[in-house]
Amino acid sequence: MNSPDLNKQIPNVVVWLLLLAMPYWLPAVGGYPELGTRVVILGLAAMSLNFLLGYTGVLSFGHAAYFGLGAYGAAMTIRYLVPSTGIGILVGILIGTIAAAIIGPLIIRLRGVYFAMVTIAFGQVFFFIAIRWNSVTGGDDGLTGWTRVPLHFGFTTIDIQNNPLAFYYLVLVLFAVAAGIMAWMLRSPFGRTLIAIRENERRARFLGIPVDQHIWMSWVISCCFVSLAGALYALLNNFVDPRALYWTQSGDFVIMAVLGGMRSFWGPLIGAAIYVVLQDYLSSQTENWQSFIGLFFVLVVLFFPRGVLGMIRRKVMS
């Protein structure tokens, strides 16, 4: 392994070390266990969105819908079918992915703002189903009366129910799997094709690349991982409510991706960390925290459009 390759690995190593050690350094800087878990889960959601947004160049503003479907899928499975965390997560992913696969063909021909508008609007369908189909989803009150259950393996049991640390590491393992798959995909020919489409869709089309299929695939993959994040989010709160699929939640994911840096793999995770911590901090400081968050959006757009990592990279390059 030569030194430029080694250099490339440094960010990965740093990120993993920080994540692995999070429960040990977070309290020292004023955090608390759930905050760390939340950062990782929302970071996963933002990274999944970025698969589509940053690497395929398609602007989805409706990812909250699939995040929420994953959450409801997991919660309803545990509540109504089987008290198993694993099956809950699987069902959550399945529901979110299937919904995305079905909606995909309706929207993949659209681009830019139009794509954004239609994804938001479709997301609202699920929001209204969640809020009005009271007998099943719990409606506006959310779905209660269930909790995540300890993981039973043949040889041992991991108590993710009462031990926040165990739950954090479960989340981290799933995050690692998801991040690994996404990184692998982006490095594969398929991922290269996505980037080609992002850079010049027309040229890609002329080269005979089935652009619509690729965008559909990218959309489904992105929604698949975002529904995993949603399922974990439901488990974190032991609760799920329709706000998880409201369109403003999608906006949060987009700002996380942009804030960290859309063109870098870890960017959205860093964006999520900054955003979650900032929101957590501001909303304890002032009841007008919304203004500050809004102002933050404006500042990011005006001054940091490349995100934190984009800026750092530019500095390093120059």
Binding site: L106, G112, M117, V254, Q290, L295, V298, P305
Partner: protein
């Protein structure tokens, strides 16, 4: 039953007219500048609050005229200072910018006027039903439809008869050529944004006549306007108008038969339209 249905169709038209007013403003800005204005609901709230503040000084009628104009002025400024910076960039940034503005507007109105909803009074003679059978045709609701009609006719007159309007329409089709022909695109976009925000302000004043005036008033009205634009077809103002009326009637009819789908039905309608005509009912091929 037929009567109930008929009533709800009428009622849906009234509600739809209101959605259309919101959607037209959004549509104007979107067509010329490619910006989805998430802050539209915020401008609506500002229109309502300004009217509330102005009424003691200028009366309801004065407020009806002044509040939308003042809202438009705020729109001008916002466009000049902020929105102008995201033109020509990835649409992502305009989305995030206006999304952030929406937060600021909601919180700002709460900061200035308080979270408590405020009593807003319209002239008493507008507050009565016109007939006891058609009790839902109140003076105020007819008045609302009338104002919407005037605004829509006015808008179309501006767009077809004035130089500004013709430029806006031309710019919607091909901004580059318009710019090459010597039109100051900056001013054009600014005026256009102001016009769109004016419609939001007007919708705000009309809304508070029958809704409670509180900071989140605009939030629940913006999504139906989106759907109106998508159903009607992007790039087409008559389409937006049609879309607004259609979704109003659709949710009116649904209330009679399947009340819990009242909100969802407009999205289902949108899905069907997209399936059959991806560009929307009156949308033009090849745009966006």
């Amino acid at each position: 039953m037929t009567q109930l249905l008929l009533f709800n169709v009428f009622n849906g038209l009234i509600v739809g007219a209101f959605y259309a007013l919101m959607a037209l403003g959004l549509s104007l800005i979107l067509n010329l500048s490619g910006v989805i204005n998430f802050a539209h609901g915020g401008f609506l709230a500002i229109g309502g609050y300004l009217a509330y503040t102005l009424i003691p000084y200028v009366g309801f009628w004065g407020a009806l005229v002044l509040a939308p104009l003042l809202t438009a002025v705020i729109g001008f400024i916002v466009e000049r200072v902020l929105i102008v910076r995201v033109y020509g960039r990835d649409p992502l940034y305009s989305l995030l910018l206006t999304f952030g503005l929406a937060f600021i507007f909601e919180d700002g109105t709460r900061f200035i006027w308080g979270a408590q909803s405020l009593p807003f009074q319209v002239p008493g003679w507008l507050m009565t039903p016109l007939s006891s059978d058609y009790f839902f045709l109140t003076g105020y609701r007819l008045f609302m439809v009338l104002v919407v009609a005037i605004a829509v006719i006015g808008l179309f007159l501006i767009l077809t008869r004035t130089r500004l309007g013709i430029r806006i329409r031309a710019g919607t089709l091909d901004l580059e050529t318009v710019s090459v022909l010597g039109v100051n695109v900056r001013i054009l976009r600014n005026m256009n944004f102001g016009l769109g925000v004016y419609l939001a302000g007007l919708a705000g004043v009309l809304a508070v006549g029958q809704l409670g005036l509180q900071p989140t008033i605009g939030a629940s009205l913006i999504m139906p306007s989106f759907v109106a634009i998508i159903v009607g077809g992007l790039g087409s103002l008559p389409g937006t108008l049609l879309g607004g009326l259609l979704i109003g009637v659709a949710s009116g009819i649904t209330t009679v038969f399947f009340p819990s789908a009242t909100e969802a039905v407009i999205y289902v309608m949108m899905a069907v339209v997209l399936l059959i005509r991806p560009r929307g009912l009156l949308g033009e091929e090849g745009r966006f």
